[in-house]
Symmetry: C2
């Protein structure tokens, strides 16, 4: 091995370590939340339509909104759970000010019996790209 290859190998490892820390810092900024929302039965279909419109808009229009994944419990369809992932707390704060979120919030206020915003930490950030790549592949 000559001096040049050693230097290149060293530079490569520096870049890799820097890249890892950059990704880690990015992951540390990230905000994960699981919202638990109970909906008035009479409003359920209307609520879901408004929610879907808002979450689709958020994900498409806001780079800082990484995921909004709404679900309901099979046994209790009025129990809605939303997995939300934001690039940072700042991105989340900006999301709250958007017109699509404001529209969602004001139009669904009367439909929501209770709301619990549960802040989460993801346990395995490293595997996320693999996990969600498969989501895409399965959609085709």
């Amino acid at each position: 091995m000559n001096k040049q290859s050693v230097f290149i190998a060293f530079l490569t490892s520096v870049v890799m370590v820097a890249g890892y820390h950059a990704v880690s810092a990015q992951q540390q900024d990230r905000m994960v939340r699981l919202s638990e929302i109970e909906i008035e039965p009479a409003y359920l279909d209307e609520y879901k339509a408004i929610l879907v419109e808002e979450s689709a808009a958020s994900v498409k229009l806001e780079p800082g909104v990484i995921a909004i994944f709404p679900m309901y419990q099979k046994e209790t369809p009025t129990s809605v759970r939303i997995l939300e992932i934001y690039a940072s707390k700042t991105a989340y704060q900006q999301h709250l000010k958007t017109s699509h979120f404001q529209k969602y919030k004001t139009t669904t206020l009367k439909m929501v019996k209770s709301l619990k915003l549960v802040d989460m930490e993801s346990i395995d950030a490293a595997t996320m790209p693999v996990i969600f790549k498969k989501m895409n592949e399965n959609e085709r």
Copy 2:
């Protein structure tokens, strides 16, 4: 427009409709679950390490495992929540028989205070590809 273009346009729309139904059927087969797991505090770090190893292996090795996304509640770190998405109930049943899952199950049995497997339905299947594409982009 000549007869050939009309025919091609017709064929294209048939393929698109068939594709949509194929995707819809695929989405209908899909199984979504939110697991709620309470962990004995003394075992928390050990449990998380075993869980991460198993979920990473499942996602990488099993095409039918679309996502296993483990999280814990910030305020109560012993409260673990796992979002699980399987291509079908069959894929889920096969997952239960794998050596990595069996290893996870047997080694963590003593660590789990309670386990609740909550079957879910996703509300907005159409936006999923967009949502999870951003997960990938944000990881780079």
